[in-house]
Amino acid sequence: MDRQLRTTIALAGYRRSLPGTQPEYLHSPYVSSRKRAPSKSLIAIPATLTEVTGPRFSSADVGTRESDLTRQHGGAPLGERIIVSGRVVDEDRRPVGGTLIEIWQANAAGRYAHASDQHDAPLDPNFSGGGRLRTDGDGRYAFTTVKPGAYPWGNHDNAWRPAHIHFSIFGPAFATRLITQMYFPGDPLLAADPIWNSIADEDARNRLVSAFDWETTSPGYALGYRFNIVLRGRDQTPMEE
């Protein structure tokens, strides 16, 4: 290997996940994964500029009101008002400030405001279910919304998704992109959910369950749930061949 190539490989990338802490692509109980999961091994590549850079969204890209999903229409949505807040950090506990978070969810009755959702539960004219914000300099965020309902789906007989909120987070680089789902504590549907159970490691799985939180519960207004997010950390030392 020539010297230049070796130097390229030595660009510090992002750390690989620990076994069992991320879902496998194929998780047969989740039927949709069977024909969509890759069947060949991924090819591991060293970090290049492409993976360690990524888009930055400015405050001009995101409206300040987009973080309150209860104030996007003329009236208040039905359901239990909640404040979901937390902090985005990397594996080394460094805050990820100024990064874009996008969320989407069903309404309190368990129905998405989406043409493909045919669940026989009412739409709420005062709830669209989408929100965005940028984390503050300390990586903190807070959305105001309503608690989403559980809903049936076609995966298996009598299948119900536990209540959840979808989260999309960018982080500092193309390699740190994460899309996940936040669940609620004590939900009896979790144990039977093939999507949540696709994560083999129990501790990792439980990191997707938010915690009820008195500290962020707003008196007379909304219940608080806390959900912290950890993105990949950068390698301390460059990968050497």
Partner: protein
């Protein structure tokens, strides 16, 4: 002790409520291209609920500094087809002055994908492809899955096969 990274979960079928499509911002003067393709599952059926994000350098081979220029997001239609317009990225000079062939980084999300997939689009007839060390790390017989095909004036076709014999190369990065 380092923290454990939050596990990924599928984007599901309803992502358009929260994730809006975004055009890659086009620079005047560069080589304008339309890239079109389909996302196909293991049975060869179009994936009608995939979302594709792209990240690339500009025509001079520079990544945007503290902006979202060069980033875009498209969704597939009922037949699994997606299309986006962009400017062909330039060759990149990386750490140690190593030259990388022009490429677009791609992330694919869909219902059924518990984690997203990383891949790359390379360009046909590009001499620097021969020296690109990422392409070189891909077995010969699978390399073609990463290289778009000309399909008309300023048009390229690039398909994503999620599973099976002609499966697209996906990277762990």
């Amino acid at each position: 002790m380092p923290l454990v990274v939050t596990p990924s979960q599928t984007v599901g079928p309803f992502f358009s409520i929260g994730m809006q499509p975004v055009d890659v911002s086009i620079e005047p003067g560069g080589e304008q291209l339309i890239i079109q393709g389909r996302v196909l599952d293991g049975d060869g059926n179009g994936v009608n609920d995939a979302i594709i994000e792209t990240w690339q350098a500009d025509s001079a081979g520079q990544y945007a500094d503290r902006s979202s220029r060069g980033w875009g997001r498209v969704v597939t239609d009922g037949s699994g087809t997606f299309q986006f317009s962009t400017t062909k990225p330039g060759r990149l000079v990386g750490v140690g002055d190593v030259v990388h062939a022009p490429h677009i980084a791609v992330t694919i999300f869909a219902r059924g994908l518990l984690r997203h997939l990383f891949t790359r689009i390379y360009f046909p007839g590009e001499p620097s492809n021969a020296n690109d060390h990422i392409l070189a790390s891909v077995p010969n017989d699978r390399r073609a899955t990463l290289i778009a095909r000309p399909s008309g004036p300023n048009r390229l076709e690039w398909n994503v096969v999620l599973q099976g014999r002609d499966e697209t190369v996906f990277f762990e990065c």
